[in-house]
C-alpha cells in the first residue's frame, strides 16, 4: 500500500528541505523552552534551568539527525553535505581537479562521439517501415555495376513470379552518368544535380511517407512521360528555402519544364542510405518499359518480404525464378543474366562498416579505461596524502561507510564535470562529422548527440566515477584508524597493498596503450601501402573539370568536335601542357560492357566484361596513363575512319594470353567491331585496394555513348593558378561563367580512401592519447613512490650509495612495470588484431615489424616517464632528504 502522506512528506522535504528543517528546529526549541519553563517552576534560576533542559534533551543535533532518518532523508542531506565538502576539497587542489576533469572529459567525449557514430551508422533502425523485412536484390557479387544489376524484364519477372515478397521496387544504378542541370527561368544554371531514377513500387516498398506532395503516378511512369521530380529534403531546404508552395510547380531541368510532385522526408536521404558520398538531389521516375529493358543490366532491386518470411527463404524463392530465366534464355543473352544474390538491406548498407566501427568502439573504450585508471591512481595518491584526515575522522567516530561514500562522491563530482566537458566536446565532434559529405559511410550525416547518446554518457560517467573511486574507497574499508594514524607518524608511506594496486593499474595502462598503438600501427602501415599502390595514372599536377556544351548537339560527332575545339583553346593557354576528356574519371562511376575477341581462325573467342571509358585522343597523356604497346588514339580518327580500341594490360593478357593483341579485332558490347591499336597500364578504376580489372578505351568520335564530360588538364602551374587559368579559358570559350565543378586528381584519390583515412586517423589519435595518459600514469606512480622514499633514498645516499645506483634502483621499478605491461599488451594485440584483417591492405595482422616498432615506442616513452623522477631522486641532497618531516 502506498502511504501518500509519507510520499508527500518525502517530496516536501526534497523540494522544500529548508521548510521541513525549520519546522524541526522549531519543534525542538519549543520542547527545550517548555522544559526550561518547567525547571524554573521547580525553582531553578533561568540560567541553570536552560542548561538542565539542554542536558536532559541529550544532544539536539543527534535527535534532529535521527528524525531526518525517520523521513528517509538522511541519505539526501548527507549526500548534499558530502558534495559540498567534496567540491571544497577538490577546489583546494585545483591542479589535480583540472587534470582529472580534462582527462575524463576527453575520455567521455570520445566515448559519446563514438557512441553517436555507431548509433547512427549501425544501431538505429533504417529510416523505413519495418526495415527488417527489406531485402536487397542484386545479381553477381562482382566489381562492376553492370554485373551487379539486373535488367528491367528480369526484375519484373522476379517481382511477379515470386510468392515471398509483398512488393518490390528498384532504382537505376547508373544515374550518375546522366547530366541534369537545374536552371532558372532565364536558363542560367542554378546547380548541376544528380537525379536517381526510381521505379514503381520503390517508395511503397520502403514504406516512405513523403514530406510533401505525392509519388509519381500514371503516365509519369511511362517512357518519355511528362517530366517530373521528387526533391530531396536537403535540396528543398537549400535551394527552395523550404517553400511548401513549390510542389505542383514547374522547374527547369535540362531546359525542360519539370513538375515537382513531392518532397522526400528529412528522415530519408536517398544518398545517405544507397549512395553515401554521392549526393542525390532529386528522384526521377525510371520506367519499367521495353526501351529501358534494352539498356541491359541497370537496376538494383529492393523487396519487402511477406510477414513471417525469412530473408533466406525469400532469397531461395528468387533463386528459383532466376534459374527459370537462365534456362529459358540459354546461352544467348547470358550477359543479361548473371546471378541472384540477396541479403537483408541492413546488411547490405551497414555490413561493410560493422567491424571497423566496433574496433573503434573497443579503442575508445580502452582510452576511457586508461583515463579512469589514471584518475584512480591520482585519487589513490591523493587519498594516501589524506590518510591522516580520514583516520582522524574515523577515530572521531565517522562511520567507515561515510568515508567510503565521501571518496566516491568526490570521484563522481570529477566525472560529473568530465561529463559536462565531454558532452561539449562530443557536440563539436559530431557536428563536424555530420558535415562530412565526402565520406562514403551510410547515414553519417545523421550523427548527433541525441537522447540516447546523453543517456549513454551519463551512464558511462557514473560507471567511470564509481570505477575511479572504488579503489581508493576500498582502501579505507581495510585500514584501521590506529594503524593508519601510527603509519602516518612513522613514515608516511602507503601500505604494501596500495603500492601493488597502483602498480597493477599502471601495468594495465601500459598494456592497453601498447595494444592500441599496435592496432593503429597496422592501420597506418596498411594505409601507406594503399597510397603506394600504382594507380596507373599520375594524380599530381592535374585537375579535372566537369564541362558541358550548354545545349543539345545534333550528333555525337558534332559534340566531339565541340569538345575538341574546347580542349584546343584550353591547351593554348599559358602554362597548360595537355588537356583531355573522358566520360568518367577513375575511382568514381563504373559500368561494364562485354568484349569478345576474334581469334586467329576468325571465330569469336571466349569473351569477358570490361569498364568502358569513352575518351578523346589526348586523355591518356593528360591523365598520365602509360602506353605499354602500340599507341593511344590520334587526332585523325573520326567516325568515318576505322573503329579502333585501346585495352589495358589486364584485359589484353586475359583475351590473348601473351599473344600480341595489336591489330586484333574485338566485338564490343555486342554492337560493333573495333581494331586493337594499343595497350595501356592498368588504372585503379574502382578503389585502391581492388585487384586490376578489365578496362577498354573508346574514341568519342566513334561512339555516341558519351553522357558526361570530364576535362582533365595537366600543368606544372600551382593548383590555384591552374584553376584560375582554366576558369578564364572556359569563360572565354563558352561565353558564360563556368561551373565550379573542378577537383584535383589527387582529391579523387583522397576521396576514395577517405573512410580508411578516417579509421586510421581516429585510431592513431586514440592510441596517442592512450600513450600519453599511460606515460603520465607511470610518471605519477614512480614520482609518488620516490616522494615516499625520500628518507630512504637520503639514508642510502648518506651511507655512500652513488646517484647512479639510486637512479637505476628507481628506474628498475619502472622498467619492470613497462615490461610486464608491454608483454600483456602484445599478447592482447596478437589476439585482437585479427578483427582488423578486413581493414588491412597487404599487411599481416601479426606483422612482426609493427609489433616490435610499437612495443619499442611504448617502452621508450615509458622509460622516459620513469627516468625523470629517477633522476630527480638521485640528485637529491641527503641532508635535505633526511630533514623532511
Amino acid at each position: 500500500m502506498v502511504k501518500w502522506d509519507s510520499v508527500w512528506i518525502a517530496l516536501k522535504s526534497v523540494f522544500r528541505n529548508g521548510k521541513v528543517e525549520d519546522e524541526l528546529n522549531e519543534e525542538v526549541s519549543f520542547h527545550l523552552e517548555m522544559q526550561t519553563r518547567h525547571n524554573i517552576e521547580k525553582g531553578m534560576d533561568p540560567e541553570t534551568a536552560k542548561k538542565k533542559a539542554l542536558k536532559s534533551f541529550g544532544g539536539a543535533e543527534k535527535t534532529k539527525e535521527d528524525c531526518r532518518d525517520g523521513w528517509g532523508l538522511r541519505l539526501l542531506s548527507d549526500t548534499r553535505r558530502d558534495t559540498a565538502y567534496g567540491i571544497r576539497q577538490l577546489m583546494k587542489d585545483k591542479g589535480f581537479a583540472i587534470v582529472s576533469v580534462v582527462t575524463l572529459g576527453i575520455g567521455i567525449g570520445a566515448c559519446a562521439s563514438m557512441f553517436s557514430l555507431v548509433n547512427a551508422v549501425l544501431l538505429k533502425p533504417l529510416p523505413f517501415e519495418d526495415p527488417e523485412r527489406l531485402v536487397w536484390i542484386q545479381s553477381a557479387k562482382a566489381m562492376g555495376l553492370s554485373a551487379q544489376t539486373h535488367t528491367v524484364d528480369n526484375f519484373k519477372e522476379f517481382r511477379d513470379e515470386n510468392n515471398s515478397f509483398e512488393s518490390m521496387g528498384a532504382y537505376f544504378a547508373f544515374f550518375d552518368y546522366g547530366a541534369y542541370i537545374h536552371a532558372d527561368e532565364r536558363g542560367n544554371m542554378i546547380a548541376r544535380v544528380r537525379c536517381a531514377g526510381i521505379t514503381e513500387g520503390f517508395i511503397e516498398t520502403l514504406g516512405i511517407k513523403l514530406a510533401l506532395g505525392r509519388n509519381f503516378e500514371g503516365s509519369e511512369w511511362a517512357f518519355n512521360g511528362p517530366p517530373s521530380v521528387i526533391l530531396s529534403h536537403s535540396y528543398w531546404k537549400s535551394h527552395f528555402n523550404s517553400d511548401r508552395g513549390v510542389v505542383g510547380t514547374n522547374i527547369s531541368i535540362n531546359g525542360r519544364p519539370t513538375n515537382v510532385v513531392g518532397v522526400l522526408p528529412a528522415s530519408f536521404d536517398f544518398d545517405s542510405v544507397f549512395t553515401p558520398g554521392t549526393e542525390v538531389e532529386m528522384l526521377v521516375p525510371f520506367p519499367l518499359s521495353e526501351e529501358t529493358n534494352r539498356y541491359g543490366n541497370t537496376i538494383f532491386g529492393i523487396g519487402r518480404l511477406k510477414e513471417g518470411v525469412s530473408v533466406e527463404a525469400g532469397g531461395a524463392n528468387l533463386k528459383l525464378v532466376s534459374d527459370r530465366i537462365k534456362e529459358r534464355l540459354g546461352s544467348q543473352h547470358r550477359r543479361f543474366h548473371h546471378h541472384m544474390n540477396t541479403e537483408s538491406l541492413d546488411d547490405r548498407i551497414r555490413g561493410p562498416f560493422r567491424t571497423a566501427f566496433y574496433v573503434l568502439s573497443v579503442a575508445v573504450g580502452c582510452v576511457l579505461a586508461i583515463a579512469c585508471v589514471n584518475i584512480a591512481n591520482l585519487l589513490i595518491a591523493r587519498s594516501n596524502g589524506r590518510r591522516k584526515e580520514f583516520s582522524l575522522r574515523a577515530a572521531l567516530g565517522a562511520q567507515r561507510w561515510r568515508l567510503i561514500r565521501q571518496t566516491l562522491v568526490e570521484s563522481l563530482i570529477l566525472s560529473g564535470w568530465g561529463l559536462a566537458l565531454g558532452l561539449g566536446l562530443a557536440y563539436v565532434a559530431t557536428n563536424w562529422i555530420s558535415g562530412l559529405q565526402a565520406f562514403s559511410i551510410p547515414m553519417i550525416q545523421n550523427v548527433s548527440i541525441d537522447g540516447y547518446a546523453i543517456g549513454f554518457v551519463v551512464l558511462i560517467a557514473g560507471v567511470t566515477g564509481l570505477g575511479c573511486g572504488i579503489f581508493p574507497a576500498l582502501q579505507f574499508s581495510r585500514s584501521a584508524p590506529f594503524e593508519a594514524l601510527g603509519d602516518e607518524s612513522q613514515r608516511g608511506s602507503s601500505g604494501r597493498r596500495t603500492v601493488w594496486l597502483r602498480k597493477g593499474l599502471v601495468v594495465t595502462e601500459v598494456a592497453l596503450s601498447c595494444l592500441l598503438l599496435v592496432c593503429a600501427g597496422l592501420l597506418i602501415r596498411s594505409f601507406d601501402r594503399l597510397l603506394d599502390v600504382d594507380l596507373g595514372f599520375e594524380p599530381s599536377n592535374a585537375i579535372a573539370w566537369r564541362v558541358d556544351g550548354g545545349r543539345e548537339f545534333e550528333s555525337y560527332q558534332e559534340r566531339a568536335n565541340y569538345y575538341e575545339a574546347l580542349l584546343d583553346s584550353i591547351e593554348a593557354l599559358p602554362g597548360i601542357e595537355v588537356a583531355g576528356i573522358a566520360d568518367t574519371l577513375p575511382l568514381g562511376r563504373n559500368r561494364q560492357w562485354g568484349i569478345v575477341p576474334r581469334m586467329n581462325d576468325g571465330e569469336r573467342g571466349p569473351g569477358t566484361g570490361a569498364f568502358p571509358r569513352v575518351v578523346n585522343h589526348s586523355y591518356a597523356e593528360a591523365m598520365g596513363i602509360e602506353v605499354l604497346a602500340g599507341r593511344f588514339f590520334n587526332a585523325f580518327e573520326t567516325s568515318e575512319s576505322e573503329s579502333v580500341i585501346v585495352l589495358n594490360k589486364n584485359l589484353a593478357d586475359q583475351l590473348w594470353k601473351g599473344d600480341d593483341p595489336l591489330g586484333k579485332t574485338v566485338f564490343v558490347n555486342g554492337r560493333f567491331e573495333a581494331k586493337v591499336v594499343g595497350v595501356v597500364s592498368d588504372v585503379k578504376h574502382n578503389s585502391l585496394d581492388a585487384a586490376p580489372s578489365n578496362e577498354m578505351y573508346l574514341n568519342f568520335h566513334q561512339i555516341g555513348d558519351f553522357m558526361a564530360a570530364e576535362m582533365v588538364v595537366r600543368s606544372k602551374l600551382s593548383t590555384e593558378l591552374l584553376i584560375s587559368t582554366v576558369r578564364k579559358g572556359l569563360q572565354e570559350y563558352t561565353g558564360r561563367p563556368p561551373s565550379n565543378e573542378f577537383k584535383t586528381l589527387q582529391s579523387l584519390v583522397d576521396h576514395s580512401v577517405a573512410p580508411e583515412r578516417l579509421f586510421k586517423d581516429v585510431l592513431s589519435a586514440f592510441s596517442l592519447v592512450a600513450l600519453v595518459l599511460a606515460a603520465v600514469g607511470l610518471y605519477g606512480v614512480i614520482a609518488y613512490s620516490v616522494g615516499q622514499r625520500v628518507r630512504e633514498i637520503g639514508i642510502r645516499l648518506a651511507i655512500g650509495a652513488s646517484p647512479g645506483r639510486i637512479r637505476s634502483m628507481i628506474l628498475t621499478e619502472g622498467v619492470w612495470m613497462t615490461a610486464i605491461g608491454i608483454t600483456i599488451g602484445l599478447l592482447g594485440a596478437y589476439g585482437f588484431s585479427r578483427y582488423l584483417s578486413g581493414m588491412l591492405y597487404e599487411v599481416s595482422t601479426t606483422d612482426p615489424f609493427i609489433f616490435a616498432l610499437n612495443a619499442s615506442v611504448v617502452a621508450g616513452i615509458a622509460i622516459l616517464a620513469a627516468f625523470l623522477p629517477a633522476r630527480q631522486a638521485s640528485k637529491g641532497d641527503p641532508n635535505e632528504a633526511l630533514r623532511v618531516e
Binding site: E23, F30, T63, G70
Partner: protein, 110 residues
C-alpha cells in the same frame, strides 16, 4: 538525572504514543510529560527517542501533525491520530496485552 529508568521494549514507545494520542492531540513535550506522570516517573522517555519515533509514526501515516497555539501561547506542533493510527493503537494494545499476559503466565507458573 537518570535517563530511562526502564528501557522500553522495542516498539513499546510507539504503542504509548498512539495510546496517549487517543485522548486527543498533544505536542511532543506534553506526550513526554504525560508518560512520565502516568507511569509515576517509572518510565521516562528521552527526547532522543521520542521525536524520531513521532516522525517515524507520522511518516507511516498513523499520526499527523498540525501547528497550533500551545497553552503558553507559543506555536507548537501538535500530533493527532489518523484513522489508520486509531486502528493501529487498538491492534498494538491487544498484541501487547497478549504478550504481557503470556509473560505473566510464565512468571506465575514457570
Amino acid at each position: 538525572m537518570p535517563r530511562d529508568k526502564q528501557d522500553l521494549l522495542q516498539g513499546t514507545l510507539d504503542l504509548l504514543i498512539l495510546r496517549i494520542l487517543l485522548s486527543g492531540p498533544r505536542h511532543g513535550y506534553d506526550i513526554a510529560k504525560h508518560i512520565q506522570l502516568v507511569s509515576k516517573e517509572v518510565i521516562q522517555v528521552g527526547q532522543g527517542s521520542l521525536y524520531p519515533s513521532l516522525h517515524r509514526l507520522e511518516q507511516r501515516g498513523y499520526i499527523k501533525a498540525k501547528w497550533d497555539t500551545s497553552e503558553t501561547g507559543r506555536r507548537a506542533k501538535f500530533y493527532l491520530l489518523t484513522a489508520d493510527g486509531k486502528r493501529k493503537a487498538a491492534e498494538e494494545e491487544s498484541r501487547w496485552k497478549e504478550f504481557t499476559g503470556a509473560v505473566n503466565l510464565i512468571l506465575q507458573k514457570g
